[in-house]
Each structure stands twice: as C-alpha cells, then as structure tokens.
C-alpha cells in the first residue's frame, strides 16, 4: 500500500530520508515498509556508442518482498546490496533485457553503465509485472549517503500488511509516529499526515472517477434497453390478452400463464449475452485505441473469466428486470377482467400505464446521457480554447539528459549545494553550446531549454521559499514551483515579459523572474522588482515578471512560479529542448537526433513530441469520456426512439376503435394525428423534463472530467432537449400518420 505524505500546501508527496529510516526500522511482523526513489538515469553500454535514458527506481532492501515480486531469472535485490561498499547490482525489466541482450535470461551477469556508475545485472523481472512495476531498472537505494534533511522529501513509501492487520491500524500507527515528529521537528512536520492507499486504487486514482462515471453511463444504457424489452413484452402480452384470459378461465395456473413471458425473456437474454460477448471481443481493440492516452494498465484489459462472469450476472439481472414486469402483468390479465369484452379493460390500463412510464423513463435516461455527453464535449471545446500562455504552433520538444551529475553527497549540507551548483554551471555551458548547434539545423528558427515543457506536468520541483524581509509563521511561507530555463526561453516560446527584464547571463548573478501569478499572490499592490527571494543557500533578486503559462495541463490553473537560469542555481539533471520552426515540427525529429549524435553522442534524447501532440494529450481524457458518452447517448437515444415508436404504434392499434368513433363524429384526420402526437408530446415533456432535471443533479458527477462548468452549459440542456424532442417527433410521426389514415368504418368494425 502506497503511503503519502499530506502536508499543506503541497498536496501529497514522498517523505525525507530521516523519516524513512524511522519507518524502515519500525517494520515488524505486522507491517513491512519499502522505500523507493524514482529517477531518470542515462545508460550507456560498455564499448558502444549512444546513450539511453532509463526510468530507474532506487529501492530499499525489502522492496521486492513488499511488492511480492519475484524475478523470472536471477535474484532480487536485498538489504545487503544497500551497503555502500557492496558491488553495484541491478535488476532489469523483461522488456529492457529483451531489447539490450536479445532475451531475458542472457541479461544475467551483464555490465551496464548508468551515468558514471558501473552495475551488474543480477535479476530480470517477469514481463507480466510490467504494468505494476513500470520502471526499466531497479538499483539498491543508498539513502544513507544522501542529504539527511527532514525538509527534503523524495522517498516514496510502500507497505505490505500481514493478514489481520488492517489499513486503518496502519494509519493509526502512522498517526502516532507523525504526532511525535510534529512535536520534535515542527519546522518540517507541522500539519503533516501520512495517508494509506490501496496500490490499485492509487495507480488508478486519476481515472477512478472517470471510470465510475462511465460505469454509471453503461448502467443507464442497460436500463434503457431493459425498459425497451419489458415494453415490447408488455405490448405482445396485450395482444394475447383474450387468449390468456380464456386460458385462465379454463383453469390454467399462474406458472403456466407466466411461462410464456419468462421463456421469452430468457431467450432474449441468452441471445443478448452471446451478441454482447462477441461485440466485447471485437470492440476491445477499438476501446484500447480510444483510451490509450488516458487509462493506466490498459494492456491488461481482456475479455476473460471476470468479464464473462460480469456479462452473465448482468444478463441474469437484465432478464429478470425485463421479464418480471410482463410476467406480473400476465397474472393481472389472467383475472376475470380479461374476458369482459369491453373496448378497454383493466389489464390494458395496467399494461398501458407501465408502458408509458417505461417510455418516459427511457426518454429521461437518454436526456441525462445526452446532456452529460454534451457537457463533456462543451468542456472539451472550452479546454481546447484555453490560452496556454504561449504559442503552441511549430514547437518540437524533446527531453535530454544533462552530462554533469552531482555525485551523491557524503557529508554536510553546504558541500552538496556547491556540487550541485557546479554541475548546473557545467550543464548551462553544455546547453549553450548544444543549443547553438541545434539552431544551425536548417528550418530551426529558435532553440531553447526548460527543465520541463509546458502542459506536460512532468518532473516538477516545488517547495517553500521566503521573501527576504518578511516573517513567516511555521508552514506559512509561499509554495512556489521552480523552473530552470536557458536565456532564450521566454522569447522562443513566446511568453511576454510584462515587467522588468530577464536575468543576466553572468554565471555569478543571482537573479530570477517570477510569473504573474506569483506577483499577484505575494506582491499585490507592491512592485516585486528588486525584492529578494531566499532559496536554498542563496538569495535571488526578482528582476522581472513574465506571463502565466499552463504548466500542468490546459485544465489546470497556473501556480506561482519562479524561473532560474541554468548555472545560477542547482538544477535537475534532465531538461527539455524546445525547438521553434515554421515547418512541421515533427519533421525536425530526425535532424535533431542526428545533430545530437554528432555533437553530444553521450546524451540520451527521448520523448520527442510536438507541442500540438502534448496539447492533444492534455485533452485526451475528456475526449475519451466524450467519445464513449456520445456512443452511449446515441445508443440510448435510438433505443428510446424505437420504444416510443413501438408504444405509439401499439396505442394506435389499440385505440383504433376510439379513433374511428372520433372520425365518425366529425374529427378531421389532422385532429386524429394531433391526438397521437399529443400522447407523444405528453410522454416527451415528462420524460425529457425529468431527464434534464436529473442531468442537472448528475452533472456534478462530471466534475472530474468537465473543465470549468459555466454559462454555456445551459446550451447542453437546450440542445439535448431539442434533439430529443425532434427524435421523439420523428418516432411519433409514422404512427400518428397511420392513425390519421384509418378508414373510420374499418376502425369501427374491428372489435
């Protein structure tokens, strides 16, 4: 179970090495902890050119036990590997082994170089675990060699609970630990809480609400379909009214009377089940394609025993629902009323009332689905219209690893800072040279770098800073996202400098620019220019204010940000190249790759995307939900239209005589048509009205996928209402026209 540190104002995160050490030592026979630090490391193979960036997890000794994961070949890492003087062992994923060495088993004993560390492969994980353990490679963590500050949170914690020890018990235990930390180290731990999550819940947290939403939509469609089947069965029954009544009068028992309805429902159910499973089998690939960007663990999706069980259960349920009503109606009809030959009798009235309710219900559910679908689509268009704060056209992005990596620190705080700053200075120099070469590629109009590209939400660093001269109570200093950029960043990407200037290019300058949001939050009514921000070991002078950029995604507001120049502050060890071009940005991928191969062969280049691709990805979840909801809404709509059509056709047939009388009394065909249309109108108004009201209340469930619900949403209700009314009118027209064309004498004769 993943454990997360929750501490305002940063939402949730990992914990610090000293805190981790205490947790690790508290492992016992009830709960076992594992610590993980994720990192990107540049890998080179001995004797070969080219570099590759790997997703690496540095894990504590119990990690594989806690995950319950056993390597397919070789051994797992254990606590012995964590010793500073042990040989460097590594476990690799099946995919990496396959790619590097041709097969999983032949990876054992091979050497790899990660940055400047030599490691030996001692184990290969099975490919079946790839969805749960997504890294390429696992190394033993040596947290003891790292910066031992309680404010430095980067260790993710996992726990395995022994049977009988509940998650709540673990939370209680953690709460006690935190209470102690709060009193001992208030400056780091005040207001902190450690929360426990299920691993699956945690991995699917971003999509859980979306999946529940879709589940709900599926149930609605199912309900609409069931209502339709029940409706059809009721209509058929009404036709057999006389026959049933006669049978009942002749002494047929309940079971005999109901047998027909039930057999019919079961047959329909079985047919539906077979068709459904076939559809699931062939539709799955399409679904995976639609969802590829937005749903985790998608590759595990299959029509297996679970799906079979669900399908059978659903069928039984749906069959029962749609078969019960008609069966019950049969019993009602079996009574004496059935024989009393009047034009309209009790049984018809009962069936008719139910049928009207069912059709109105179908319309209501369709309205609900349609509104939901439109709300999502409207939100999608709003989202697509959001100004990301920069010009996204003609931009290629690609992440690279930087050559200078600060070695693990062994001692005090200051020296770690110095080493990291030195690495940053070296990387700044490297970047300047590289970007100059990249700008020489034909077609490139500008090239720059930022630690993580806008709209990606990748690899963000954030934390508290303090504005020099202000006093903060513990835990109230502003939280800011930190970014590192090359000098040309703002110009290249098209972010305006609204006040002041950019940081100077001098390596020993300590200057920063902040975004508008930061300025608004911390310097309302005050000129931020000239103010100083304390960050780590230095103070940085604010020399300018730049426009807000959507850093996380189109749908997420900009946070307060401060930008450092590479070389003026310790910086992350990967960065993102940003190329501006007038051509199709993706056409630059190969030239860029070649250029890097030529001027910096040891640099790994990965995740090449155009900014437009990133933007589309930012929209993909809404788009996925929108597409599925549209599919559901259209299905429900068609089924409801058929239901309404069926009901009215039946009603016209049943009311033939009444309509004949009206015609004989002088009604015009138009008046008779209107009569049928009125019935449709009544059902539609009730059904659609209820559905729209329901949709209003259901719309808050859409909150997770709808961006900024607002004024234009009324449009969704209006459009859905109109569309449904139109479809109802179309469905009603044929039966109504048929009624108007009835010859009165035929209608009168039919008894």
């Amino acid at each position: 179970m993943p454990i997360r540190r929750e501490q305002a104002p940063v939402q949730a995160g990992p914990i610090s090495p000293p805190a981790w050490q205490e947790l690790e030592e508290s492992s016992d026979n009830q709960v076992q902890f594992a610590g993980v630090m994720q990192a990107a490391r540049t890998m080179r193979r001995n004797g070969e050119a080219g570099a590759e960036l790997l997703q690496v997890a540095e894990v504590s000794g119990d990690y594989f036990e806690v995950m319950g994961a056993t390597p397919a070949f070789g051994r797992a890492l254990d606590s012995g590997d964590q010793d500073a003087d042990a040989d460097s062992a590594a476990v690799v994923s099946a995919a990496l082994a396959q790619r590097l060495f041709g097969s999983a088993s032949s990876a054992l004993g091979q050497d790899l170089r990660l940055d400047d560390q030599q490691v030996v492969v001692v184990g290969v994980m099975p490919s079946a675990l790839a969805d749960v353990m997504e890294e390429d490679l696992w190394l033993p963590a040596r947290f003891q060699l790292r910066h031992q500050s309680r404010g430095n949170n980067y260790i993710r914690v996992l726990a395995r609970l022994q049977p009988g020890f509940a998650a709540e018990a673990l939370e209680a235990r953690l709460a006690a630990v935190v209470t102690r930390w709060e009193s001992e180290y208030p400056e780091s731990h005040l207001g902190m809480r450690l929360s426990v999550h299920g691993l699956l819940d945690w991995q699917t947290r971003d999509v859980a609400s979306m999946l529940w939403l879709l589940q709900g939509a599926v149930l609605l469609v199912l309900a609409v379909a069931c209502a339709n089947v029940a409706n059809l069965a009721l209509a058929r029954l009404a036709g057999r009214r006389r026959e049933l009544a006669t049978e009942a009068a002749l002494g047929a028992g309940r079971a005999h009377l109901m047998a027909g309805s039930i057999a019919e429902a079961v047959l329909l159910g079985l047919g539906g089940l077979v068709l459904g499973l076939l559809l699931a089998h062939f539709g799955l690939a399409t679904l995976k394609l639609l969802a590829s960007e937005s749903v985790p663990r998608l590759s595990q999706l299959q029509v297996g025993p679970q799906a079979w069980t669900m399908a059978v259960a659903t069928t039984v349920f749906a069959t029962a629902i749609s078969g019960l009503l008609p069966a019950w109606a049969t019993l009602q009809m079996g009574g004496a009323e059935g024989l009393r030959g009047g034009r309209q009798d009790g049984a018809d009235a009962i069936g008719g009332g139910w049928r009207q309710t069912l059709v109105a219900g179908q319309l209501a559910l369709s309205a609900l689905l349609l509104v939901s679908c439109l709300l999502v689509l409207l939100s999608l268009s709003r989202l697509a219209a959001v100004d990301p704060g920069f010009d996204t056209s003609g931009v290629l992005t690609g992440r690279i690893s930087l050559p200078a990596v600060a070695a693990l620190e062994v001692d005090g705080e200051g020296s770690g800072y110095e080493r990291m700053l030195e690495a940053s200075v070296n990387n700044a120099r490297f970047l300047d040279d590289l970007l100059r070469e990249v700008r020489a590629i034909p077609g490139v109009e500008g090239a720059t770098a930022i630690d993580s590209a806008p709209l990606t939400g990748n690899n963000n660093w954030n934390g508290e800073v303090s504005i020099v001269g202000r006093d903060y109570a513990v835990g109230t200093a502003p939280t800011v996202e930190w970014r590192w950029v090359s000098p040309t960043y703002f110009d290249t990407i098209g972010v305006p400098v609204s006040r002041g200037r950019l940081p100077s290019t001098a390596a020993d300058a300590r200057e920063t620019v902040i975004n508008q949001r930061f300025a608004d939050e911390q310097f309302a009514g005050v000129d931020p220019i000239g103010e100083r921000v304390a960050w780590w070991n230095d103070e940085y002078e604010i020399v300018g204010v730049v426009g807000d950029v959507r850093q996380w995604s189109l749908g997420r507001d900009t946070s307060a940000e401060m930008y450092f120049r590479y070389g003026q502050a310790p910086s992350p060890e990967t960065t993102t190249l940003i190329l501006r071009t007038g051509m199709d940005p993706l056409s630059l991928t190969e030239p860029l790759r070649r250029k890097l191969q030529e001027v910096a062969p040891d640099t790994a280049l990965f995740a090449l995307r155009s900014m437009q691709q990133i933007e589309a990805r930012s929209l993909s979840q809404s788009a996925f939900v929108g597409q599925l909801l549209a599919l559901f809404a259209v299905t429900a709509l068609l089924v409801s239209a058929v239901g309404l059509y069926g009901l009215l056709s039946f009603s016209v047939a049943r009311r033939g005589q009444e309509l004949g009388v009206r015609l004989a009394l002088g009604a015009t065909p138009a008046a008779v048509r209107q009569l049928v249309l009125n019935e449709a109108l009544k059902l539609s108004v009730i059904g659609i009205g209820t559905g729209l009201i329901g949709a209003y209340f259901a719309s808050r469930l859409l909150a997770s996928v709808v961006y900024q619900p607002g004024g234009s949403d009324a449009l969704a209700y209006l459009a859905a209402g109109l569309a449904l009314a139109m479809i109802a009118a179309i469905a009603a027209w044929t039966p109504a026209a048929r009624a108007a064309g009835l010859p009165p004498m035929r209608a009168l004769r039919a008894d």
Binding site: R343, Q344, E658, V661, A664, L665, T668, A671, L748
Partner: protein, 227 residues
Amino acid sequence: MSDPVIQLKGVEKSYPLKGGRSWVLRQVNINVNQGDFISIMGPSGSGKSSLLNILGLLDSEFDGEYSLAGEKVNGTSEKQRKKLARDHIGFIFQHYHLLDDLTVYENLDLPLSYRDVSAAERKARVGDVLDRFQIVGKKDLYPNQLSGGQQQLVAVARAVITEPAVLLADEPTGALHSTQGKMIMDLLVELNGQGMTIVQVTHNPEYAARGNRRVELFDGWLQPVAE
C-alpha cells in the same frame, strides 16, 4: 313535396375476393324523405351495416349514385364528403362507442369540438341536450359508471347535438335489455316526431314497426316489406 334527403340509385358495394368479387350490396335504390323513420331489417351478414356506412359517408368506395341533402356524394373530394357528413349526419352505434376516458359532458361536447362552434355556443348546446335528455346529474360521470341504457342515451344525445338532418342508428338496441331498448325506441320516435329523419338497423320486428317504412336486405338485395 321537397326533394328526398337521401337518394340512392343503383348503389353497389363489393370486396375483392380471390379471383373475383364478393358482393355486399346489389342495385340498391331508395329515397329517404324529410321526416321519414326507416327501419332496415335482414339477417346477419346481409349488408345492413355496409349500407349504413355508405349513408353515413364513412365509406366512399361504392358504385352508383348517392345524393345527400341535394348534394352529390360521388366524385366529390374527401374533404367535401367530410364536410357533408359533419353538416348532415348523426351516428348511433350498437356498442355506444362512448369514449371511456371522457366524462358524459366531454363526450357530448366532442362532436361540437370538431365543428366550427364557439365555446359559449358549445356550452349552451351541451347544457341544452343534458337538460332535454334528463342526464344533467350524470354529466361528470364516466361511461363505465353508467348502465348500458344510460350509455346509449348519452350516445343518442351525442348524435343529435349537432342537429343533423339524418340520424343513422346501427342496431341501437342490440346490446340492451328490453326495458332499456324500449326507452331508446321511445326516444327515437319522439325525435322523429320533432322532425328528425332517422334510418335504423334492427333485428326486432316490434321496434322495426315503430318506423313509418320498413325495408329488408337479403344477400345485398333491398326489398320493401309489405305493410
């Protein structure tokens, strides 16, 4: 004497039947004068209802000539026939055919609602008829709350509320007990006495005798009954 209200000349009605035709009415000639009370008799299946449907303009698919109130029915448009029917015809059916989900009042109002009558006039006429037929107390009841005789009474009231020139009644007493049947016949005689032209179909010789003329249908052929 004025022209007959209804004039049929050589009217024939047939249904296609595999390979040939099945004849329901053959060479029917009849004149119905203003104030007549004609009873049509005949065995079941002899074509009585078919004839009444043609008279009531519910059926326009026949051969021969038909004029109603001096206007030719053949060859006119559907719309004109509908108008003719609205202006001149009232209908009573064997099974009353009141609308079950309308009250007595609403049933009476129904024919007026299909005609160009003002709301005030409609109210007045329905009130008038309720009064004349002594069913004021029943005006808010639904048909299934009435006896068969009462229902037929309402049906007659509904047929005459438009003041038609001709009242067509297809076995109006067929579903009634004899006392109720007598009551309805008394009512028809009374209406006839007030000048209404009536054509009724009946199986009951006693009721048939209350008209001023009797005709009989046999296999579609019409013949007068000797008095």
